[in-house]
């Protein structure tokens, strides 16, 4: 095995281990990192939804973006680009979030849930693999969202990181604009949103993983995609590393509890576990990267990826305002409809964007 493969395997191990440590230090169970859940918490923190149990300005997300930005700047890879079907990507981000919140986790949390003994996540993994497979079908048919162009100014690439630096400022400063209603940031007093590792550690964890993910190009949909498409296992090694790293520490910490029932922030409606991550796998493959990868790219100046991040944040607000998100009780009818609509819509986009 060459050095690059060792590096991504070790990166995976580190990400998995850091995730377990974040849970030990206060994050919700099997949620050391979850890009979808944390963007959802951020949507709540800025009041885009008022689901009281999932509001927190997650420093991990801020760290991931800034870590990727600083790393790409040092590597000379920070370059503002965009213009590849930007609004389509925004809408795809909305539906990628709907799929993730129907399942209750992004692909990264799916691995962490499996490493915690949550068998529902295995069902979701099969859905994810099938979704990526469906995406590969469209890729082979000539799907293409079009070329991105370099911008003549780097300013656009700094916008999203600046917004998150501002959020970090608000978080640290703790300013309250409206003493009666709260805000600008809202914080859960109970539920998953109230559970968090200490700010500094969470931020540092994000920065470290942002650095590692930027260097290795870690991508969870990409791991499965490349294996199906060109029998390449490079990105898949990162995937496997995360599982092993989290599994070992989960066992040491006593977090590993195998079974289907009573898993933390999870439900047992297997059709929707499967279809939720099917939608995420399909959408991520059409977008060119999973939710984690979109965050990292947005830190590198990719404005199309930043649109996906914005779409996911807005999608999270829709999920809670319109009762689409799953909960430990399961997935309601509106979430089921939205998930199926998402799959149909992504299929339509996949088919419509074929090149000659």
């Amino acid at each position: 095995m060459d050095s690059r493969k060792w590096f991504i395997l070790l990166t995976g191990l580190a990400v998995g281990a850091i995730a377990a440590i974040l849970v030990k230090l206060g994050n919700p169970a099997n949620m050391g990192f979850c890009i979808a859940c944390f963007e959802r918490d951020i949507a709540g923190a800025i009041g885009l939804h008022r689901a009281g149990i999932v509001q927190y300005m997650r420093p991990e997300i801020i760290g991931l973006i800034l870590g990727a930005m600083l790393t790409s700047m040092f590597a000379g890879e920070f370059k503002t680009r965009g213009g590849s079907a930007t609004f389509v990507r925004f809408i795809m981000g909305v539906f990628m979030m709907i799929g993730a919140l129907v399942f209750l986790g992004c692909p990264l949390r799916d691995i962490l849930r499996m490493a915690g003994g949550d068998f529902n996540a295995v069902v979701a993994l099969i859905g994810f693999i099938c979704g990526v497979g469906a995406g590969v079908f469209f890729l082979k048919k000539g799907f293409n969202l079009g070329r991105a162009e370099f911008s003549h100014s780097n300013a656009g690439g700094y916008l999203l990181p600046i917004i998150f630096v501002f959020f970090l400022f608000l978080l640290i400063k703790g300013t309250v604009f409206n003493p009666d209603a709260g805000g600008p940031l809202f914080f859960s007093t109970e539920g998953p949103g109230s559970m968090a590792a200490p700010l500094g550690i969470a931020l540092l964890a994000g920065l470290v993983v942002g650095f590692l993910a930027q260097r290795t190009r870690l991508c969870l949909s990409g791991g499965i995609r490349d294996f199906i498409l060109i029998k390449d296992n490079y990105l898949l090694l990162g995937f496997i590393g995360i599982f092993i790293g989290a599994l070992i520490l989960n066992i040491i910490f006593g977090f590993f509890k195998p079974g289907f029932a009573d898993q933390p922030v999870a439900h047992t409606m297997q059709v929707w576990n499967f279809l939720g991550l099917f939608l995420v796998g399909l959408t991520a493959t059409l977008l060119g990267g999973c939710p984690l990868r979109q965050l990292i790219l947005s830190g590198e100046g990719d404005m199309d990826a930043a649109s996906v991040v914005a779409g996911m944040t807005v999608g999270a607000a829709f999920c809670h305002n319109f009762m689409l998100a799953g909960s430990p009780a399961g997935v309601g009818i509106y979430g089921q409809i939205a998930c199926v609509v998402g799959i149909i819509l992504m299929g339509w986009i996949g088919w419509s964007f074929r090149e000659d």
């Binding site: 890879e77 991105a148 370099f150 990409g222 498409l229 060109i230 977008l287 060119g288």
Partner: protein, 69 residues
């Protein structure tokens, strides 16, 4: 020499377009692209398919490579 233009394309389009040209029977290709990620991935694919890779332009935001069997 057949040319494959993968400028500005997101993953995995650069690899896919190169692979399609290789599967189409090309023994020599000139590939031009922009991102470092696509450069790494395309050259990795070409090597795995038994091609010699010669990177003729190697800048941070622009690259060209010739691959030959």
């Amino acid at each position: 020499m057949e040319k494959v233009d993968v400028k500005g394309l997101s993953c995995p389009m650069p690899v896919l377009k190169t692979k399609q040209a290789i599967d189409g029977g090309a023994k020599e290709l000139l590939i031009v692209g922009t991102s470092q990620v696509s450069k790494e991935n395309v050259s990795k694919l070409a090597k795995s398919q038994g091609f010699n890779v010669n990177i003729t332009v190697d800048q941070k935001d622009s690259w060209e490579m010739e691959i030959k069997k």
